[in-house]
Symmetry: C2
Subunit: 400 residues, 2 copies
């Protein structure tokens, strides 16, 4: 008898990520990718990482051992220092380091929900977080949202109705829309969730990628003010600000919640190695991260502006977007009736990729939307890429 | 209204690991740990890792980017070469790299089971794997086992009765018993599972840590012979053979199963950084790993023999063990009626820790059992540690 493999129904139902599919479709072609979510490679601080690694190796064999589930303590301490400077007072014990941003969301969900629990999300919202929610069997319900964030009336209505386990938000330059929540909406959601005793997961991977270094966007975590007994769990990562390869993110909030997340992590990955964390710790001691972030912000703004200029020059009727203030993405609204998944197949033929918007919607996708990445292509590539994209769009609009 | 945190019932029910508890109890004391599962720190190949990292950094900024979910291809290719030399013919596409051994088990379970699915395990079996099973809501059923592995009659009876999703085994120097399955039992289980169409997860983290370099222990994977449509998923790690900090393990088997595991990993951690994998890849190109493994085997055998000698010298009546042929642990049977958890509390007072055996049993623990680690203490520490342990045991046996 041959083995009949049985798969988890939750995993079986997961759609293969459209981001990855479009990347694969373009493999082996002379294709320009506006589909990815990679940081600009030329700004990755290789020398600083190399020097930091050198210091770690000089510290002896202990650097190659296992470490605590909670993560390397000196890095947690340093991180607390950085966060304090941003008005977030936190103790290393209120924090757990994770293998990046997505594993952080996964651990939060595993610790704080049951299959069938409800999570409220912005509409649209981060595709990879949606996949984490589906992997864990959650019921995902989108809250009506506009360019300023979730609409508070709808949020309150859905909280009353569903008593969600979590409300998941990305208030700064979220993937895919790059929307920035207004201060009013931030305060509104914190107050609403406090009133109903509901926990917010504030996911902030892009917060440091702002185009105006002086701009200040208060985190929901700092608006809440209270760590112990508070209604906000905050999570972020060094993947976008330093380097993806150093695989380090964190979650912070009420100590009992962090303890439960630690318990979930202990079961899944009891004694992680922490070479990445040690390298990051050494790097942060010597590397001027804030200057580096200003450099990143400046380059990304230039690229975003170049992309906007190129799109405007194409004079594509029915195509619109809101200018991002940070992050990595430009969110396009395409002409009514244009299905971005069909457009992608055409674009691939012409040598450019992007991510269609549908999979970012938990329900009822707006099919005439698309996410363009502007961080990882050079000026020249982008010029060619947008021309090809415009060409594909025109082909569709000419038809209708 | 203050937030009432709600926790996942599965995580809430997880016991905090006894290994970690005993480690914590001993913190801050002049304590000798026989509780851990750390490799001998003096043999960690720091220089080789440092040189490998140097080569990775010289390859350019791309080393700091994201990589494929399946893991760094050149490492998968090299690994296939190593495995072929051991009679396991495998293609890089039949394999996924993971962040170590435990995350591998977690992904397998997420991809191939539902909450409530049955997994059969040896009795006793690896504590951290039990925690992964509980985290994922599995029903864990132990198969009667002796020093040679699972008893085939009971395995067959339970397979018929429960139609398990998985049979989980550690045939080489398993944690905690260090038992080595006989060739007959290995063949027996493969045949039985093939007959019933049931998937075996062969977890082999310790297989390379054998005391007799010439000893050959055929893997269930090679006994099965068939990768596509086969009944064995094999998983192992570089954590014990090279270094824990390089956090790299792998799973191999039928390509469709690997694809489903990849899908689960995509959802949880879509685009991992792979600095660790790149370092490991470079290391394996230049470092004589097999010579290194012989060195490890030799040191561990010396330490194991020293531990045995010390235990024998203490002439503890009612204490017995089976001499390990590899791995990191000595599994003690204590006098009838002696509860190892009570013994641990006494031992901590005397300045030594170990892991009580109960949590390694899925059901009905044998309380008079204990796991001693012999890999990470020096000769002198071990001498003192075993004397203290004997002292604690004598105190208990004197009382009865």
């Amino acid at each position: 008898m041959s083995v009949k493999y049985r798969y988890s129904s939750k995993v079986d139902r997961l759609q293969s990520s459209a981001v990855r599919d479009s990347l694969k479709m373009a493999l082996g072609r002379e294709s320009i990718s506006l589909a990815g979510d990679l940081p600009a490679e030329e700004l990755l601080p290789l020398d600083a990482v190399k020097e930091a690694a050198g210091r770690v190796f000089r510290s002896g064999n202990g650097a190659l051992q296992y470490d605590l589930t909670e993560g390397y303590l000196p890095l947690r301490e340093q991180l607390c220092g950085r966060l304090a400077a941003k008005g977030m007072t936190i103790d290393p014990d209120d924090m757990i380091l994770t293998g990046g941003s997505r594993p952080a969301i996964d651990l939060i969900v595993r610790a704080l929900t049951e299959p069938g629990s409800v999570v409220l999300v912005e509409n649209p919202t981060c595709l990879t977080s949606l996949q984490v929610f589906h992997l864990n069997g959650l019921q995902v319900i989108p809250v009506e949202s506009d360019k300023d964030g979730m609409m508070m009336e709808d949020a309150e209505r859905l909280i009353r109705r569903h008593k969600p386990a979590l409300v998941y938000v990305v208030p700064n330059f979220g993937n895919p829309t790059a929307r920035v929540w207004t201060a009013q909406r931030r305060r509104g959601l914190v107050e609403c969730c406090r009133r109903h005793g509901v926990l917010i997961v504030e996911d902030d991977p892009y917060g440091e990628l702002k185009f105006d270094a002086k701009a200040r966007f208060p985190t929901l975590f700092s608006i809440e003010g209270q760590v112990s007994g508070g209604c906000v769990l905050y999570t972020s990562t060094f993947s976008k600000s330093v380097a993806p390869a150093l695989q380090t993110g964190w979650v912070m909030g009420d100590r009992n919640v962090i303890r439960m997340i630690t318990k979930a992590k202990q079961a899944a990955d009891p004694e992680p190695g922490t070479l990445d964390q040690r390298i990051l710790d050494q790097l942060l001691r010597h590397f001027p991260l804030d200057i580096h972030l200003r450099k990143i912000g400046k380059l990304y703004r230039q690229r975003m502006q170049h992309m906007q200029t190129l799109l405007r020059e194409q004079e594509l009727s029915g195509v619109s977007w809101i200018e991002p203030q940070g992050g990595m993405f430009l969110w396009l609204e395409l002409p009514d009736g244009l299905d971005a998944e069909a457009l992608l197949r055409c674009a691939v033929m012409k040598g450019v990729t992007f991510v269609p918007g549908s999979p970012f919607y938990a329900l009822e996708p707006k099919r005439n939307t698309a996410r363009l990445n502007f961080t990882s292509t050079s000026r020249d590539q982008m010029t060619v890429g947008i021309a090809r994209l415009a060409d594909a769009i025109s082909e569709f609009t000419a038809r209708s």
